[in-house]
Amino acid sequence: MNNILEINNLNYSVKSHRLLGSESDKIILRDVSLSVNERDIIGITGESGSGKTTLAKLIAGVNVPTSGKVYLKFSENWKNFRTNPVQILFQNNNEILNPYRKVEDIVKESFLIRNNKKDNVEIELEKIFSSIGLDNRIIKRKGFELSGGEQQRAALARILAARPELLILDEPFSAQDVESQLNLLNLLKKINKEFGLTMICVAHNLKILRKLADRIFVMYNGEIVESGKTKEIFETPKNDYTKFLLRCENYDLKYEELKFSQSN
């Protein structure tokens, strides 16, 4: 199988400039390497603040790494299109949708940019809306009228209208209720099968990642501490942090049990 994405020794750090005081480097990602096969669904989980979102942004080209390279290989010649083959759904769900425009206009615009031709627009849009579960009432509303979860789904519709090859999702489940989570889970699997879309999904919800992902990467403190097939990670975790994360899943630990440092 072909690699769609390969990352070698990716580092990312930010300089902290202070008015008074010295400049210092804060390391966000340290020597991250990973490769993703075409049509795979990859799950990334880990500590909050461990650099998951930063990694997603580096893959999408939103940020530029300090050192290391991100290699992307696509099947089509994307120079002919005006959209990017990598699309990302961001986590901050109140900032991802224009509050003053109608959902259907937002999605239509994205569709027209990708496709250039004007016929069948309505039918294609209909398909996208129905598969995501945005009904006629919702698509007529403007961004500010939507709830957090609805905004997230509307943004996903806009992304799918651009027909990417690699889809990056940053916490797509976090603002969704359980029914929508289940629908979204099935939807993502369906898109993956039907369109052969490769996906990278950052999420804290292990129950869902277990059902969605083919492979899992676990991050702690800017590094990937464990990776492997989903089943292996959940059934026979090797890394201490992964084990700790799985123990926390039921929210019934005491304070003393909730401390994790790499030394123990």
């Binding site: 909050s48 957090g148 209720d177 029914e179 289940l182 909730l258």
Partner: protein, 252 residues
């Protein structure tokens, strides 16, 4: 003690008006944690924002009353309202990072709300945040989504309110930290006359943290019931469907 009685909340948009909440009544008694479950767009966030009149009055029309310790929040003058918001009823929002001004360092908020620096340090340590020397120098865009949620919760605790209202506290944080939230919130409601109201999608979290749970659908809130009652005898077809979806994710 907080008594909320909302007749209705309307959202006005360019050419239509939509009713979001209707005939909703509930009370928060002291020393308890209340949870509202509900689907996307059912009005959960709107309902909790209405408690201290946080909804934009140009877009929303509310009728009802919210009585907090004998005072009607909907009638009180602006300066008193601001005082309630600053000292008595604190929120932790779903998109916590937007609660902060991106041009101010976090020091500004801690200076404003925290009186005791030992307590600040202790809470920062508890929530595995950087120490105050480092954190205070940071801008909101320098911290991750999960961190801003924790900072927001720490600030809420530091102002020693009577009520903390949390919108989706588990979204964007790992389960270890959600667990810390749970322990701290339970500790908080044990003190004084405190109570807490939260909105969440995470049923297993709600099950572990709540004293009372209610379900919001079609703009109406069910009665608050004990966790066992609520989960074992939903008594509402929509809620049953909701719980079923959760079981599918969790066990199948």
């Amino acid at each position: 003690m907080l008594q909320v009685k909302i007749d209705n909340i309307y959202l006005n948009s360019t050419n239509s008006t939509r009713e979001i909440i209707s005939n909703t009544k509930f009370e928060l008694a002291e020393n308890k944690i209340y949870t509202i479950l509900g689907k996307n767009g059912s009005g959960k966030s709107t309902l909790i924002k209405s408690i201290t009149r946080l909804l934009n009055e140009n877009n929303y029309k509310i009728s009802g009353s919210v009585i907090f310790n004998g005072k009607n929040i909907y009638d009180c003058p602006q300066n008193e309202l601001l005082k309630f918001r600053k000292e008595k009823i604190k929120y932790v929002f779903q998109d916590a990072v937007n609660s902060f001004d991106h041009l101010k360092t976090l020091k500004y908020y801690f200076k404003l709300l925290a009186k005791n620096s030992d307590e600040t340090d202790e809470l920062l340590k508890y929530f595995l945040l950087p120490n105050s020397d480092n954190l205070f120098k940071m801008y909101p865009y320098e911290i991750s989504g999960g961190m801003s949620q924790r900072v927001s919760f720490v600030l809420a605790l530091l102002s020693h309110p009577e009520i903390i209202i949390l919108d989706e506290p588990t979204s964007g944080i790992d389960s270890a930290i959600a667990n810390l939230f749970l322990l701290k919130l339970k500790e908080f409601v044990k003190k004084n006359k405190n109570s807490s109201l939260l909105v969440t999608q995470d049923i297993s979290f709600a099950e572990k943290i709540s004293d009372r749970i209610a379900y919001l659908s079609n703009g109406k809130l069910s009665d608050f019931r004990s966790v066992d009652d609520f989960l074992n005898d939903p008594g509402n077809p929509l809620l049953e469907k909701f719980l079923l979806a959760n079981n599918k994710i969790e066990y199948e």
